[in-house]
Amino acid sequence: MNDVLSQPVVVEGDVAAEVEAFLTKHWDKENGRPRDADGRIRGWMEKVFEAGWAVASWPREWFGRGLDKDDARTVLAAFRKAGAPGAGQDRTNISAATLMTFGTDELKRGLIPGFLTGKYTNCLLYSEPGAGSDLAALRTRAERKGDEYIVNGQKVWTSGAHKADFGLLIARTDWDVPKHQGISFFFIDMRQPGVEIRPINQITGDSHFNEVFLDNAVVPAKNLVGKEGEGWKVLQTALAVERLIMGDGAGERRQGSSKSNVVSLIDIAREAGKINDPLIRQEIARATAYRQLNALNVARAKEEMAQGTSSPIMSLGKLAMSRILHTDAAVMTQILGAASMLDGADNERAADVNYRTANAYMTSIGGGTDQIQRNIISERVLGLPREIELDRDVPFRTSRAVTG
């Protein structure tokens, strides 16, 4: 057990020492689990939340500690070093960050704690069969009836819908204005009769994503986030968080696992006896360089942001990660050679590489395709002229998405 006397004396305001003390007291670094007898992650997440470490940069009255950027980074670094989850959610928790920016006080108080502690899970009810890259063409409708909205329509590719408590839903509330202006953003309770979830089989062999049918599903009006008709703006915040996460390599994790899944190409090449193959060495250099250069970009962007200048680099992360993941899988395939033809439990390494080969598309398609990311970078970061959009300014009701 921990010797209480050997713990550092904590001076109020010394964030580094405070977070160290917290981690030492509650987190078992050696075994990578909470010290609590039952070692449950939920209990740990609650402690992190109560101590304000989950969203350290947010004000104290809103679950945080009001820390500046530097101190918040110190907290995150300490958690990472200890291998402890739960910190830094001000930037990575899609639901909490969206609610914090646009939610009413009532909604923030009601939902954020649940999302930060992992009591609530979410899914993203954005894409529809006819509205993918062109999300604003969505046709799911939400109609106000007294204190409620009644929702009808179909969503698709909804990751994790079968496990989610809440859906971040975008639906059309006004059909007589141009498409971006008639959309509203809701938190919908997924566990209700009007929500039917059908799993879709993925090319990875998993079925993490789903079709979601909304048939007179009900959302209390208080679960509207932002004003009615301002859902597009709210969505941009939610999407930005999602893209940041994907740029951070979320697509590298086996879905359903929180563990990072980075394996070293060097190790794989050694294992395959090909580390001295000059061709393989070139390929390892190419793939590893993509990864390292991206990491250097991100580090420089963070520094620049800490100095108060905004950095365009952050917009590049997801696109960069897509190339990293596809290249990694290709180089691993080359290293494995003939063994890459195989799959299944008897061929663990090959199965892993195959999974990566297929799952890399989650990052290059999900959350906005590479093509859309390139449009965003060239238009919003570089300020190049926008692609002409035929139906941008016409009432949605008269646009091709409706008239066909």
């Binding site: 509205a131 062109d134 062999g205 050679g337 033809m341 195989l342 799959d343 989650m362 290059s364 093509q371």
Partner: protein, 366 residues
């Protein structure tokens, strides 16, 4: 030398394509790939009845007497449909090896049965490294007894006859083995491409009959033939998934217009068309060179091997991206093409090996 003219070849191709569209649709393929054997007996019978299993078999032995030109043509169609059948391993490789033999009785016994589809034959070449090189032969013959392992063998799970490449003394010889013979163990290898069945075969002192007159150069010739056949499959498969993709670009509407109107996708499609056409040209040129035995045959076979493998892979990989979410689903065919592309890219030697051979051939010619 070929006895089939251009028009007849086109007619065979058309008939085969029609057969595949009737009996080897995507739905049929999905049923076959989900089955234990991965084999569709009715389809194989229909293919054999058309003469395709005996395309390379001479008419004296009940075949069509075709050449690599015909095989390459047929394989383009087979690739387009991702055909799951013992055509490459049996109709092409086994027949080619047997044709190399000087043993008239052996040919009279096996070739007619292979041509009619009654006997399924396959060829075991490489060892566990899957390099398809002489150094990677994993079976040794001692006084007519085989021991060792052969790996990545196509369709061995349904084969009656195994033609096994083995080290014999200082050289290489090929042996005929009954797949049910004592000492033969066929272990299924799970392939990432569910439409293919691969096996690892262990030989434990197996009595085997040597193929008279077949040596390492016969094996090399057979492998080159197989590479050109595979190149045809890759070119045909690349074209089909490309066509599927372009069709989708025409019909899928986002932002008020077909997505094919976006330059990002248009340019990708244009680049892929270059790949598809190049693959087709490479496969056909290699077939011509092999058929005529021209001096540039070695270079053209190697070129086709890597150019077609790389093109198919590139087109199949891009096809998923160009479709978006729909191609991330198991029910969409795009991933089946990617799976085949990734497995094909390793068969009979990977691209790096063929690039190396290509430069060697260029050196020799220079």
């Amino acid at each position: 030398m070929t006895t089939i003219g251009i028009e007849e070849r086109a007619a065979i191709r058309e008939g085969f394509a029609r057969l595949l569209s009737e009996k080897a649709s995507e739905a049929d393929l999905r049923r076959t790939m989900a089955s234990d054997s991965g084999h569709d007996t009715d389809l194989w019978k229909a293919i054999s009845d058309m003469g395709i299993a005996g395309l390379l078999v001479d008419p004296d032995h009940g075949g069509v007497g075709g050449s690599i030109l015909d095989v390459e043509t047929i394989m383009e169609e087979a690739g387009a449909a991702l055909l799951a059948a013992p055509l490459l391993s049996g109709g092409v490789m086994a027949v080619a090896l047997l044709a190399e033999s000087s043993d008239a009785d052996l040919k009279a016994r096996l070739l007619p049965a292979i041509a009619s589809g009654e006997t399924i034959a396959t060829v075991a070449v490489t060892g566990d490294n899957g390099l398809w090189t002489r150094d990677d032969i994993g079976v040794v013959a001692t006084a007519g007894w085989l021991s060792g392992t052969a790996s990545y063998v196509l369709s061995a799970n349904i084969a009656d006859v195994l033609l096994v490449v083995a080290i014999a003394g200082d050289g290489v010889a090929v042996f005929e083995v009954d797949s049910k013979a004592g000492g033969v163990t066929i272990e299924p290898l799970q392939a990432w491409d569910p439409t293919l069945r691969l096996s690892r075969i262990r030989f434990d002192k197996v009595a085997a009959k040597v193929l008279a007159g077949v040596d390492s150069s016969s094996v090399e010739r057979t492998l080159d033939l197989a590479r050109v056949a595979l190149a045809g499959e890759q070119a045909g498969a690349a074209r089909r998934i490309f066509d599927i993709t372009v069709e989708y670009l025409r019909t899928r509407v986002q932002f008020g217009r077909p997505i094919g109107g976006f330059q990002a996708l248009k340019h990708m499609a244009a680049d892929l068309l270059v790949e598809v056409e190049s693959a087709t040209s490479a496969a056909r040129a290699a077939a011509q060179a092999l058929a005529k035995g021209t001096p540039d045959a070695a270079a053209l076979v190697s070129l086709a091997a890597f150019a077609c493998a790389d093109a198919f892979h590139q087109v199949a990989a891009a096809a998923i991206q160009m479709h978006g979410g729909i191609a991330f689903t198991w029910e969409h065919p795009a991933h089946l093409y990617l799976r085949r592309a990734r497995v094909d890219a390793q068969l009979f030697g990977a691209s790096a090996y063929h690039r190396d051979r290509y430069v060697s051939a260029l050196e020799t010619a220079a």
